[in-house]
């Protein structure tokens, strides 16, 4: 089925991305330098940087709302370094991710990471007490994971941030 291009859909996609911080999207000339250096693309996430931007330029915002590739971006920012047109592709990817998040279209792995962030202040956390004691460090690291007061502060911040509107916590 061929893509039906329409002004309304293109405008919506471009404006959404610009609103979420990807204002370089209209500068992209589809050279593909960003994708060539992208570790996410190398890891098998095809719709990153170039192709993601292309799909958005074609107005396919809603159509790719479930796309998982954007969550493969590691924020390494190599794309921004190599982009010859000043697009800042990473910002486009993150802008699209913001759009996805606001539509609650993120991957399950991301949900659990966000909830853990809310609970203990770490998106990813492993209990390393024994290992730490083995090398002579205190078992409980001085982080929010063992500090209720700090956890409350983090929860207060997150509850008052736009993140809370997503209804995850």
């Amino acid at each position: 089925m061929a893509i039906q291009l329409s002004k309304d859909k293109i405008d919506e996609a471009i404006n959404t991305i610009i609103e979420y911080g990807g204002d370089g999207i209209q500068r992209c000339v589809q050279c593909g330098a960003c994708s060539s250096v992208c570790p996410g693309v190398q890891a098998g996430f095809p719709v990153l940087c170039r192709l993601l931007i292309k799909k958005l330029q074609d107005g396919l915002l809603e159509d790719i709302i479930e796309e998982q590739s954007s969550w493969g971006c590691q924020n390494c920012n190599r794309c921004t370094e190599v982009c010859p047109q000043g697009v800042r592709p990473q910002e486009v990817v993150i802008a699209f991710r913001r759009y996805q998040a606001n539509e609650l279209a993120f991957s399950t792995s991301t949900v659990s990471a966000q909830m853990q962030l809310h609970d203990i202040g770490h998106a990813v956390f492993t209990e390393a007490g024994e290992l730490r004691e083995g090398v002579g460090l205190p078992g409980k690291a001085p982080t929010s994971a063992y500090n209720e007061k700090a956890q409350e502060e983090i929860q207060a911040i997150l509850d008052n941030s736009p993140m809370a509107e997503l209804g995850l916590f």
Binding site: I10, I14, Q26, K55, D58
Partner: protein, 669 residues
């Protein structure tokens, strides 16, 4: 007994990388007539040249053979060396051991070395028999002609005129201006085409050294560099241009109608018309094919008498003209008038035409909302059919969606393989102009590649992306007609890897730039050649971009290949500079390597006459019998006559029989 010196060049690794130069030098020493044989890293360098000069001055040699690269680039240098050392420069011969040995046999060094020896041996054989020759000179008519009154022709004419040479500017249309006058705005500055062109047109029109010959065509050209006689046909205007003031009164009343060529066929003009509002010269013309002969006033007839009033009945144009320039009683000659002018050099700047959309059946050419880019140019021009408003031809309503299709007929083996060079830029220009004027307009541009190579051009293109113009990589394969008003554009989005379909109100085709239809006839009259793309062929694609194979004829603008305005103007000024050189010198050199008829041997058979590609041979009567005679100014030294003459009566100087036979003997012994 000739004393031949042989000088073998290493040419860096070009020759020495393959050929054993010392072996060739040593072999040359053994050849008959050779008195000295030397080698140098670069014979064309100062030290190499000095070797030759010293041997000539010392009286060691009186014939010079240089075994090196090619006579195409280096023969003049070594001839100059001989001349500066006091030797006749035609006693020099070149052995081309680079092009003919090292470059073509890089895999076989010993074979290449043997071949180089033979090439040297052949050159020595000829050199030993060379005879001194003298250059000839003829005077030059210090006037120039420029054919074509577009922006290229105008600038060539202005340059020549400002240098002080009387210049004839010949233009087939009633006004100068060419295609540039039809354009709305020009990239990448978006300045108004007419605003920048009109002052230049006026300057050309009023320049004391420029004689405008508009509504004229080249009928015939005779002669050679410095001495061209051109017959110019001034087409019949049916209006006395000496009296016409360009007021347009006849245009307003004329009921005859024809498609307006200036508006790319989008509107109609009357039979009596002025080419365009800023025309130079601003004079009216009657197009007899669409003239209705109002009141029975055929050209050359006396007015009928009205039965009611008894007064003579005149045509509306005659009655309207306040300057008495329209008089249909005159029996005009429809062939016009032949004007003969003598000029020294000619610049050809005949421009281009755009391909018609009808050639592209898959792109719905019959649909009125599918138009060529030149038509859109007129549509968005303030002097165009809608006064600059973008309206669909089908119903005069504003379109919501426009698609631009690139490479229509260009980069296409079915039509033209070349890139038309300006389409990307003018499509982006049109899209930007429209987007500025109508921000709601939805614009899609389909490209194979975007080619925006000029100064400030790529910035213009990336700017267009930022304006929200949609670029798609992938050529449109088909346009489907949905109804009288809408079309579906079917393309492939290569970057996306998917088919795309777009409903569109208008489609603009960037049709190819191609050579004009009249170019073929002009080429025959001027002795011009065509390149593989059908444009006029320059002498050398890099080093002779404005010269042609015919001396004294120069090229400028799109007749030599697609070009934008900056490149056309640059080339036009370059062509003018080249065309002024013979005029400034006041005389032109005729190389003596041309043919001569020995009348006492000529049997008068006339075989040579039709064979000469330059029409240089004619039959003249000597002692009551016809004999061939060669015009030295026309002869190019090709040797066809020499090879053909059954009586061996024609000698090609510099390639005489004895010299050629010596070469053959050297190669076959």
């Amino acid at each position: 007994m000739a004393k031949v010196g042989v000088y073998v060049c290493h040419c860096g690794s070009n020759i020495a990388g393959v050929i054993d130069v010392e072996a060739v030098r040593a072999f040359a020493e053994t050849l008959p007539d050779v008195v000295v044989s030397r080698k140098d890293l670069f014979m064309c360098s100062d030290s190499g040249q000095e070797l030759i000069k010293q041997d000539i001055k010392d009286g060691v040699v009186d014939r010079v053979v240089v075994a090196a690269c090619t006579p195409r680039t280096h023969e003049p240098i070594f001839r100059g060396v001989c001349e500066s050392a006091g030797l006749n420069k035609y006693l020099f011969e070149m052995a081309n051991i680079r092009d003919q040995s090292s470059w073509v046999h890089p895999q076989d060094p010993s074979g290449a070395t043997e071949k180089a020896k033979m090439v040297v041996s052949s050159a020595v054989g000829k050199a030993a028999r060379l005879k001194p020759l003298e250059d000839k000179f003829v005077d030059v008519t210090q006037k120039a002609m420029v054919v074509g009154g577009g922006v290229g022709g105008i600038f060539s004419a202005l340059e020549l005129a400002n240098m002080g040479y009387k210049t004839y500017l010949v233009e087939k249309d009633p006004s100068i201006g060419g295609v540039m006058a039809q354009l709305d705005k020009t990239f990448p500055t978006n300045d108004c085409s007419a605003c920048i062109l009109t002052p230049v047109m006026v300057e050309a029109g009023s320049h004391p050294n420029i004689e405008l010959m508009t509504y004229s065509e080249i009928d015939d050209v005779e002669g050679f560099i410095g001495n061209y006689n051109v017959k110019v046909r001034r087409k019949q205007t049916y209006i006395d241009w000496k009296k016409c003031t360009g007021c347009g009164a006849c245009v307003d009343v004329c009921p005859g109608k024809a498609p307006d060529k200036f508006d790319a066929g989008l509107s109609k003009r009357s039979a009596a018309y002025i080419h365009f509002p800023q025309a130079v010269p601003k004079k009216a013309v009657v197009d007899m094919d669409s003239c209705l002969n109002c009141a029975g006033r055929k050209i050359g007839s006396e007015p009928k008498t009205s039965k009611k009033t008894g007064e003579p009945m005149y045509a509306p144009c005659e009655k309207a003209c306040p300057a008495d320039a329209v008089d249909r009683s005159i029996n005009y000659n429809p062939e016009g008038e032949i004007v003969e002018v003598d000029v020294g050099t000619i610049v050809v700047a005949t421009g281009y035409k755009v391909m018609e959309k009808d050639c592209f059946k898959e792109l719905a050419p019959q649909h009125s909302n599918v138009m060529t880019a030149l038509q859109l140019e007129r549509l968005i021009s303030a002097t165009g059919p809608t006064g600059g408003k973008l309206l669909k031809p089908s119903n005069n309503e504003k379109p919501k969606t426009i698609n631009f299709v690139s490479c229509v007929g260009s980069r296409d083996v079915n039509h033209h393989t070349y890139c038309s060079r300006v389409c990307c830029m003018y499509m982006i220009k049109q899209a930007r102009l429209l987007k500025e004027k109508y921000p709601d307009l939805d614009i899609y541009m389909h490209f194979i590649d975007v080619r925006t190579a000029g100064k400030d051009y790529d910035e213009y293109y990336t700017g267009a992306r930022r304006m929200g113009i949609n670029f798609l990589k992938g050529k449109v394969g088909s346009i489907q007609t949905l109804d009288d008003d809408k079309m579906r554009v079917v393309a492939y989005d290569m970057e996306h890897g998917e088919n795309v379909e777009i409903e569109s109100d208008m489609v603009i085709l960037a049709t190819a730039i191609e050579q004009t239809e009249s170019a073929k006839g002009l080429a025959q009259k001027l002795g011009l050649q065509f390149d593989g793309s059908g444009f006029f062929k320059e002498m050398h694609p890099k080093l002779g971009p404005v010269e042609t194979a015919t001396q004294g004829i120069y090229l400028a603008g799109c007749c030599q290949g697609p070009k934008d305005i900056p490149d056309t103007v640059s080339q036009a000024k370059g062509a003018a500079a080249a065309a002024a050189v013979p005029l400034a010198q006041g005389k032109v050199k005729i190389e003596p390597i041309i043919s001569e008829v020995h009348a006492e041997k000529c049997s008068g058979c006339g075989i040579c006459v039709p064979l000469c590609p330059y029409s240089a041979i004619s039959m003249k009567t000597f002692a009551d019998r016809p004999r061939a005679e060669i015009d030295i100014t026309q002869c190019k030294g090709c040797g066809v006559c020499t090879a053909t003459c059954p009586s061996a009566a024609i000698v090609l100087h510099g390639y005489e029989e004895e010299q050629i036979m010596a070469q053959i003997a050297a190669l076959t012994s």
